[in-house]
Symmetry: C2
Subunit: 545 residues, 2 copies
């Protein structure tokens, strides 16, 4: 249990956060009273019970994707002030309904928006590819003058950042507006939304369901459209799990393509294990591409010496894909809605003229998960756990379980274990090479998780995402359909069709290592095929836009 002194700091932190939401943006008490991690209620429904957002602000935040807004922002058809105000307001509501933010700096954002509107008028051209667009940021990235506690109680005494992470510099130079940072789970090591500092982040589709993790707040905020584009990171599924839980698009690139450097202290230098990757959460496949392409075109390797000097590659168009389908695994069997949704996607893609190859001889998922755990266990200092011990935090049961699985009692890896883990990883990649190139695949589709979003604390091991971190394969998540108690009523372990009902569905799209551009392209193609209209319908615009 944390000491009284720490508890004071936690209370202060929460009070400051509360105070940073303008009073006129506060939701009515009658609505706030309905918010609870046990309430099976939709934040979208609760939004309808408020009138904080104007009709225009509802449209700006609800109807478009980032690519659309950026076109309008770049040509002055809509001002950054209008867009920023709309997203600040909606993020404020998201915070009150889903508890997804850590740091809130709307005033700075609005000043920045005014500056960018002036910039456009003065220069007759936008500052860069992100001109005027609010972008939300996972807490671990450093933003000058903002805190980065990562939800660690012991990080509450750390000072504000005195410089930006490199990726933040790139976003700002590209004209982005930063306005909030988002929650991560305890230790950043579980696919849950809970931290002792900030409490429980909830899934806007159903507050009683988890938002996934570790980009928990990004998942909830982007889903609620309190953000049109968010920056996350992923070492085992931390972009993809929140994407699939909350029904948004997400992309994890191959490691070290986007610049990782200058984040809040977490992994000590020299980390010989799985490398954490950055990537966006978004509302369309083309927004994923826009984000990745724009950051890569800023040549991140020229400032971050850990980033690979691999420029963005433009690909020729690809009318027809060869898509492998990996639908299930005996050790991590998927739940009925996940099966049904993948099967539906397969049929729809086949109808759209793509070649679908059912993979019946996939390598063992259990072996990959075990190897990933052995890889994490090379970190004998248990770096992400250490700050929890520093403040004597009570561990969330899911974290306790994860720690027990990852660092089993008595397992003391030595130098030879590095070789063994590397060798096993190479073996697994070779097994996948047989599947991949043997079938001449462009990409593979598979579940992103055994389940759709589950009640808080129940996500379990992120097997279906973790394997692609182990192999360093780029992977995206595309939202598609929803769990349905009528259609998904087959019995399955740990599954209740009534609980799952209405939770967003998805598929995961995976590419070979470094084929980031190919995955982004395939994500656009597949998304187009799955959604006769884009998942977020691009309704006719208001005249103003």
């Amino acid at each position: 249990m944390v000491s009284q002194e720490w508890q004071v700091l936690i209370d202060e932190k929460r009070a400051q956060r509360e105070a940073s939401i303008p009073s006129q943006w506060k939701i009515p008490k009658r609505v706030a009273d309905k918010v609870s991690p046990t309430a099976s209620v939709s934040a979208f429904q609760l939004l309808e019970e408020t009138d904080i957002l104007t009709k225009e602000q509802r449209e700006i935040t609800e109807v478009h994707d980032a690519t659309f807004l950026l076109e309008r922002l770049a040509t002055g058809k809509v001002s950054s002030q209008a867009v920023t105000t709309a997203f600040c307001k909606r993020a404020a509501v998201a915070q009150q309904l889903t508890n997804c933010l850590t740091e809130i700096f709307f005033d700075e954002a609005l000043a920045r928006a005014r500056f960018l509107d002036d910039y456009l008028e003065r220069n007759g051209k936008p500052m860069g590819p992100f001109h005027g667009l609010p972008i939300s940021i996972k807490d671990m990235f450093m933003i000058k003058e903002q805190f980065a506690t990562l939800g660690y109680v012991s990080y509450l005494t750390k000072p504000k950042a005195d410089e930006n992470s490199f990726v933040i510099d790139i976003l700002l130079e590209g004209g982005a507006v930063l306005y909030c940072k988002t929650t991560v789970p305890q230790g950043l090591f579980i696919m849950e939304g809970y931290s002792q500092v900030f409490g429980q982040t909830m899934n806007p589709h159903n507050l009683s369901l988890g938002p996934g993790g570790s980009s928990s707040g990004e998942g909830a905020l982007v889903s609620f459209r309190g953000s049109i584009l968010g920056l996350g990171s992923d070492i085992g599924g931390s972009i993809r799990a929140p994407s699939l839980c909350n029904g948004v698009f997400g992309m994890k690139l191959s490691s070290d393509r986007l610049p990782y450097a200058k984040q809040q202290e977490l992994f000590p230098k020299g980390w010989p294990s799985i490398v954490c990757s950055l990537g966006p959460l978004a509302h369309s496949a083309r927004d994923l591409s826009l984000f990745c392409k724009s950051v890569l075109q800023a040549q991140p390797w020229r400032r971050d010496s850990t980033a690979y000097a691999l420029p963005w590659r433009e690909l020729p168009s690809k009318p027809k894909l060869r898509i492998g389908v990996w639908s299930d695994d005996p050790s991590f069997p998927v739940h009925p809605p996940v099966s049904r949704i993948l099967a539906s996607a397969t049929a729809k893609l086949r109808d759209a003229g793509h070649e679908l190859i059912m993979i019946s001889d996939a390598p063992s998922l259990a072996n990959a998960v075990m190897t990933a755990c052995r890889s994490f266990a090379l970190d004998t200092e248990q770096a992400p756990i250490k700050p929890l011990r520093d403040a004597n935090e009570d561990l969330h049961p899911a974290l306790e379980e994860t720690i027990a699985q990852t660092f089993p009692e008595g397992h003391v890896p030595d130098l030879s274990e590095v070789w063994a883990v590397n060798a096993t990883k190479e073996d697994i990649r070779e097994e996948w090479a047989q599947v991949w190139w043997g079938n001449d695949l462009d990409v593979l589709i598979c579940p992103g998780s055994r389940s759709t979003s589950v009640p808080h604390g129940k996500y379990g091991p992120p097997a279906w995402t973790l394997i692609w971190n182990l192999l360093d394969f780029p992977a995206s998540v595309v939202p598609y359909l929803k769990a349905d108690k009528e259609l998904d009523n087959q019995p399955a372990e740990d599954f209740d069709p009534l609980v799952a009902h209405g939770a967003p569905g998805s598929i995961q799209i995976v590419g070979w290592r470094f084929q980031d551009e190919e995955v982004l392209q395939a994500t656009e193609i597949i998304s187009q095929a799955l959604h006769s209209q884009p998942p977020t319908p691009l309704k006719p615009m208001l005249n103003k836009l």
Copy 2:
């Protein structure tokens, strides 16, 4: 000392090699008698005392580069039989003068050449980018039905290869003719030319000088023009040291761009240290590009799961380069000819309109070398040394010294050392990032070694090449000028201007990690500027060609 049983196998091996050279290609005894690792005599000179090669064969082997020959081969202007015969003959002479070959299979090569000539006639087009061209291969690559002893006595009992290394498959599918494999030094861990199985490889420019290593035989053979294009590998300078010692072009790519898999047993799987890179030795900068581009266009990652899926990138032309110049280091001071030659190159490049930036604050080379040694020392089994112990080989003094430096008595690395080595490597790369991007460099030029070629056994630590393996930066060697006893008569440690006289000079060209294409492009541009005419003058061709 090896046992009597092993000695018998060594003698047999040498006798077989001797027997595989047709008697009509044997050099006269009066010439052979002049060959000795202590004889300060040029193999090129000795060649003039033989008449084994016809005038046409002299021209085919001496006058052109691979790009030129491939154009002629692809259009049938010269037959693969003619070209292959010429290079087999010349390789036979090279072997007798410099002792550079391990395996000789001229008969198979000539049969293959006939097949390819038929292929061209039948199909009206070449088989691929290497159609009809003889390519020499460092001993460590596996060629079906050929041995790969790596000069290890204990490997003399290993069977012939039952499959090709992936890169060999790619060369063959591209139409290459394989005709010989080339020597490597004891343990592949020194920049010398000696192994107990095959004896001493010599530098054709001066038999008393070393050929460099570990692609020792490639260096000597390509230099002597017994090969027009050779395949080497480089984990500390093993392509670049033989290139600079023997006065040829060489290129080491970033690791895992060219396919490494399926080589003779050497590094155990899971190797957590510096990764060995492949690359060509050649007679022109454009031949380096041709080789790398052709192999990458075969998409090696589709067969070798360790190779990165990074396709060849075509670059826009670059009329003017920003070139950093790193000319010296206090811990590894360079000898007078190396200084003079780099200064001359700098002046010539400046005259050609490039921007030259003198780097006065380069990071410590000693720190990089020490870190590389610590990285190799993670291999507590001392994999490359182990097979020597298996046959109780006497260690070459240079190898004994290297082992003592790399695996110091009492240094027992543990798991934490992996982190420490990685972290130091990242620090060094970051220091270089400050130099590189702070000066907005396209490439860096620097010495490839403290010296030009030195007497056998005296190469010392390959500091100036090893640093780029540690950082995984691509690097090439361009031959330029020669050591000159008149010009280089300043006193320096371990340096005798009379001994160095006439040894080939060179510069090294280095790029940022993964900027392989940029280094190849810069190598072509720089080579053009340095050699008012190409280093191997492309004289008017015989009518036949």
